[in-house]
Symmetry: C2
Subunit: 403 residues, 2 copies
């Protein structure tokens, strides 16, 4: 439901209005929208949002009006043919499970939705909801990346009961703190012979992952353009204000004029460096590089690369070894930075760096031309937890009118 925000606000202020929330709670094959996507079906028949880009909206609409009529949640299963899938820009068919919950101002979720809609649309937040039929209960967690397991278990007591809250918290925790969406099934011991299944939809949105670029030069200028394409909020840091103030770095989301290692130290202390953070050291000067890399190599980040010729690389490694950096940490350093594309211009070099950052998100990327290797184009390995949300997600509905 985190895909909705303004839409929920509008629905909530329409006093006395009732609507149904239809949410994707299971996917199989290619689907146009990821798990957790919701749309609203109003009692007057209007729809806000989309679950499928058109293929199944009609059927969801009918089921939602029925759920509103009887004030009972429902769960539906829909399949897409390959032709339907292609019409919305996918290459093969798939299935989705949709949970449909009627909602009125007397619904148990009312308070949570009101709180959620008071947040900003990009605020870090997690939402946990019961989606097994006949149950309700939900909780909203601001700033989920700072949550402890104990705190989560406390928050889950009203949702799953005291007995199951520890187990549920353990299962939900990694999704919550890594900003991912998933469903959790757990058998619920009711004390009788019967064992009920309990199902939770866990949605979590963290602040965007960060790309820190050190060194205000032409390579940084080009790399800054690529950061948003890969889902990163970018920071450019350089000690020299005569460089950082140049308008050519305007693509940076944030610019810091500080000694690189002092800046990184402050960010670490403030808890703003995490396992999704990407660090590119383009300073190309040992007096900046060495203290910065020494500090960065002690962190668990998604990617750490440093620019330089083979000669600079060799002397850098010597300097780092002479310091206290252990050999195991040095192996994580991408130096010289980038894939071997025989890149020459700053634009080419920036793309070789971005390509390496992408490739390191998967353990099976080869860097070969796809034409020259066999096997699936993507999805050979599960993405690691360090990657930002990468579900294939069409922001626009693309129905080729010539088909």
């Amino acid at each position: 439901m985190l895909n909705l925000h303004t839409e929920l606000n509008t629905a909530l202020v329409a006093a006395g209005e009732s609507f149904a929330v239809a949410t994707i709670v299971g996917t199989e094959g290619s689907t146009p929208h990821p798990l957790g996507t919701s749309m609203l079906i109003h009692r007057d028949g209007t729809i806000t949002g989309s679950l499928s880009g058109g293929c199944i909206e009609g059927a969801v609409h009918a089921a939602a009006l029925d759920a509103l009529e009887h004030n009972l949640p429902r769960r539906e299963h829909y399949g897409y043919s390959s032709a339907d899938a292609f019409a919305v820009g996918l290459t093969c068919g798939g299935n989705i499970d949709v949970h449909i919950a009627p909602f009125t101002e007397h619904s148990p979720m009312h308070q949570m939705l009101e709180t959620y809609s008071s947040f900003n649309a990009t605020d870090p937040v997690a939402m946990i909801r019961r989606i097994d039929l006949g149950s309700s209960g939900s909780t909203l967690i601001p700033n989920p990346s700072h949550l402890s397991l104990t705190e989560l278990a406390q928050l889950l007591i009203p949702v799953v009961g005291k007995a199951g809250s520890s187990l549920a918290a353990t299962l939900c925790y990694s999704l919550i703190v890594s900003g991912r969406t998933g469903t959790i099934n757990l058998a619920q011991d009711t004390g009788s012979c019967a064992t009920d299944s309990l199902e939770l939809l866990v949605e979590s949105r963290l602040s965007p992952p960060r790309m820190l670029i050190f060194g205000a030069n032409t390579f940084a200028e080009e790399l800054l353009k690529l950061a948003p394409m890969l889902g990163y909020t970018s920071t450019l840091c350089d000690a020299r204000s005569s460089f950082t103030l140049q308008p050519r770095f305007n693509a940076a989301h944030e610019i810091s004029t500080q000694w690189p290692h002092l800046y990184l130290g402050a960010e670490i202390a403030a808890g703003r460096i995490d396992s999704r953070t990407v660090i590119c050291v383009l300073t190309h000067d040992p007096k900046f590089d060495i203290p910065l890399l020494t500090l960065a190599l002690a962190q668990r980040v998604a990617y750490l690369g440093a620019m330089g010729s083979r000669t600079s690389h060799d002397s850098r490694m010597r300097d780092l070894r002479a310091g206290s950096t252990p050999e195991s940490a040095l192996r994580a350093l991408h130096s010289p930075i980038g894939l071997d594309l025989q890149a020459i211009t700053p634009g080419e070099v920036a793309i070789s760096i971005a390509a390496e950052i992408i490739a390191r998100r998967s353990s099976s990327a080869t860097g070969q031309s796809l034409k020259s290797i066999a096997g699936p184009i993507h999805g050979r390995a599960k993405p690691t937890i360090n990657a930002p949300e990468r579900t294939q997600h069409l922001t626009d509905i693309e129905v080729p009118s010539w088909t």
Copy 2:
């Protein structure tokens, strides 16, 4: 001298002013500006442009004032230390040869410079100049990509004499028509026992190489952002105006709403497709793909790639084989398009395509992480003639003030 334009205009209109043109006519090692770069030294001591980002401007300045004083051309040789080179953002030192020509309104180059400065700053143009000391002579060629060898030989008669014009034309031709810069040395038979050396600086600027993207979708939207980083002028073509008119494609330099194969056919007929052209087929629909690829595969272009799953790829290859496309042409097709980065999102896929375009400019790019292989980071193989101008060229002078 093609790096100067407005500056020349200004110098020329300053009636009666005399200035010297200092031009890089030889390079060795890393140099901040490529062969052919010129700067102007005015008689009052002011300088327009830069040859080195600061290291040698002082020495060039003194030599140029001396050349103006005696109204004689000079040739100077300058070396950079590694420290000098680093100060302007290079990783190692180098040498440059500089040709310094005094210029007054009575100079033989006067007419040519006036004509050149009447062009637009990005117009395709070639300039050939004698740079052996004691000689002069030059010629200016608009639209050099359409020149024939015979026409070039005619144009060179006033520059090198009738006897040498055919040989000179043969040597200059490939530089001229591929938009590259270089120097040509040829022994000149003077009829006596002495053999003089004759040297030409050949500069050629073509219209920027083109990237044609077929299929107005989210992948195209992302790839369009990368085209200028790689030096391409981009065109987006799709048959459906409801797509091509969307503002999200505003990054395209040019948009065409036409059936893809009809558009490509018209561009071929108009002579606007050449060996530097990159074609990315993202239409993902056989009724567009097959006629388009059949036509594109018959052209000599720098890169041709087509998007699709393994299944789409197999059926596409079957369809193309069933047509008249020979197996040798099919081997040039990059399908599925892109490097294997395990890319998932449209931004990642676009970067995997750009990375493949860069890698295919060199025969030795491996796509491996630079950290995991040995050997030089770039320059293992000479770039092919299909690549756009890629000389390492600092647009801004970067002198780290903290060094």
